[in-house]
Symmetry: C2
Subunit: 356 residues, 2 copies
């Protein structure tokens, strides 16, 4: 292997959770990967160590100025026992685009993937195999130089932790109810909408809670300038089936370039289904609904893969989509992507990377 990481085995491995009651993101495996960055020295001392607390100065930049980023992907164990990652180089590339926006130093993309592989390998017994479960992989970077003042940190930690997870939405593929947010804004041109940084998520909590209080599971965000173009669903990309065309927001600065989004578009194209990345107004969607042309809606993301939408509320307009049931395109996309991820379907796209 090109990269050498030191390994300190956990002398006290934990009991593995019951796969039948797994939730999302609450349990963690026996090990984690850590690597440090020091200005002038670069990234160094990549190591696998027992999962445990981080010790940080209370003046660490991450606590005050949120110079931080994260990624998310999953490992699956196929029926024939192979351990599969899904498009991990795309996470590595997106990491560096986020890092650039947040003034975090670039990271070698091969090293990023090799570190994931090394960690997943050592904790491979933690990969659950029940339908709908996976080993969620969370790489993240935090700025931990101890100083107060607004400038980039000179010290960082790149960390990977692993969590055996059940479905992100407890209801699985049950269609969700969405509220079109017209008060809060997730992102705007010139901001950090296309970066995977903590600040975007903290800013979204309030809108999500207000939607919950109104009886909706998630929100559909509109753009920050005109308040009319549809952008994302909560923390996922949004797709609309209008007539015979699937549309989603273009990657023009405010949209997170989702890896599942990219995969959805590629699969649709391969299957010969019309797909367009174009700006779409909420008014166009309401009109399509009135004309009987708004056939399906779904969100795409690593956590839930595909999440169908059964109801969309915009001001006084309550749109029931496909009778509140999962539509054929969403179902086919879920089956295809999940099938490739878990090795059940042949990987014609060359998307999976095996951990050997």
């Amino acid at each position: 292997m090109k990269y050498e990481f030191s390994i300190t085995k956990n002398p006290n491995p934990k009991k593995k959770p019951d796969p039948d009651t797994l939730r999302f993101g609450t349990e963690f495996t026996d090990h984690m990967f850590i690597m440090d960055y020091q200005e002038g020295e670069g990234w160094h001392d990549g190591r696998i160590v027992p999962y445990g607390p981080l010790s940080l100065d209370p003046a660490a930049v991450v606590f005050h100025y949120a110079q931080e980023m994260f990624e998310g992907l999953k490992a699956y164990k196929s029926e024939d026992g192979r351990v599969l990652l899904f498009r991990p180089y795309m996470n590595a590339q997106r990491t560096n685009r986020t890092n650039d926006r947040l003034c975090i130093p670039q990271i070698d993309e091969d090293l990023f993937v090799e570190a994931i592989k090394a960690l997943v390998k050592i904790d491979a017994d933690w990969i659950p195999q029940k339908e709908g479960t996976a080993l969620y992989i969370r790489p993240f970077i935090i700025a931990d130089e101890a100083f107060l003042g607004v400038r980039r940190s000179n010290h960082y930690k790149f960390i990977i932790i692993l969590s055996p997870v059940g479905p992100y939405y407890v209801g699985g593929l049950t269609p969700t109810k969405l509220y079109v947010e017209d008060k809060y804004v997730r992102a705007t041109d010139g901001g950090t909408g296309e970066a995977k940084c903590g600040g975007n998520y903290a800013a979204s909590l309030k809108a999500q809670e207000e939607a919950h209080a109104k009886g909706y599971e998630q929100i559909l965000w509109l753009d920050g300038v005109h308040r009319k173009y549809v952008e994302e669903v909560g923390t996922s990309n949004a797709f609309f089936v209008i007539g015979d065309e699937v549309v989603t927001a273009p990657l023009d600065g405010t949209i997170l370039p989702g890896i599942t989004r990219n995969s959805v578009i590629a699969i649709l194209k391969k299957k010969g289904i019309k797909v367009a990345e174009r700006k779409t107004t909420i008014d166009e969607i309401v009109q399509a609904y009135k004309d009987g042309k708004f056939k399906e809606m779904f969100a795409s993301g690593t956590a839930a893969v595909i999440s169908p939408v059964g109801e969309l509320r915009y001001k006084d307009e309550d749109m029931i989509i496909n009778n509140g049931e999962i539509g054929p395109i969403a179902q086919e996309l879920y089956d295809t992507i999940y099938g490739i991820q878990t090795g059940k379907l042949p990987d014609d796209m060359g998307w999976t990377v095996e951990v050997k």
Copy 2:
């Protein structure tokens, strides 16, 4: 005292720094204040302990989703030995407004101020007395429940640390050169611009670095929707003297409600100087410059108090303000505010709070 905090004295006090070489935010005192929040239990266990590292689970919310906020204020020691805080209840009130936006639980405002007083009292020997120095007080809250997923944390830490500081800008009251930012955006309606949360600062680093590379010390932000209204200077509020009027952006959602900003407005009003909180376009400022009416510009903030601006660059227009020198209004405001803060001037406004 209404609030009881346990105190664990630091058995190994550090050597205090030389006041002549103090920088900003790099040295910290012997103690810190910590208080925990648990959903269902509320804030509890307020305590003063030796300054030292925090131990946090790598899945703590703050590392991934930036659910965090901070405040900043200063303590001064007057010539007659009194320890003075400047308007600390305004920090407490702003904390709760930020907390509301970030879905962080509210905190008792009296407790917030009493905790600051108790900590400053125990480390009062750390307050430097040289002109331009102060004890900077940094209260902050971090979400530290260990889970992955986008929802509010059920556990938080409220922490206060203290740092003896020199001037924020090494040049002191030397006028700075600003670049009008027309690519990146700091805040937009519906976002978190008026909240003091980490994400706003992480998002601002890139623009600041690009301005530095062009030879400017700071940026002047424009609004995110029209890209024409002037908003803030870096992380400070912006003031412009146009003709006989001082103008600053109104608090309509994207502007941080600065405590120094509020004090500047109150002092100007008291002195009978015309001051307006109104939307002002960069074009109006350029036109005023051409007409010889753009007299002064300065930024206000806790760290630098008043920071005069000597040059403002917008596209091809290079505006030299007041011959690149500090103007009379900026100088008078600095002298007045710093005078009140340090007890040199009588506190007619009732702004200082003594730590007894």
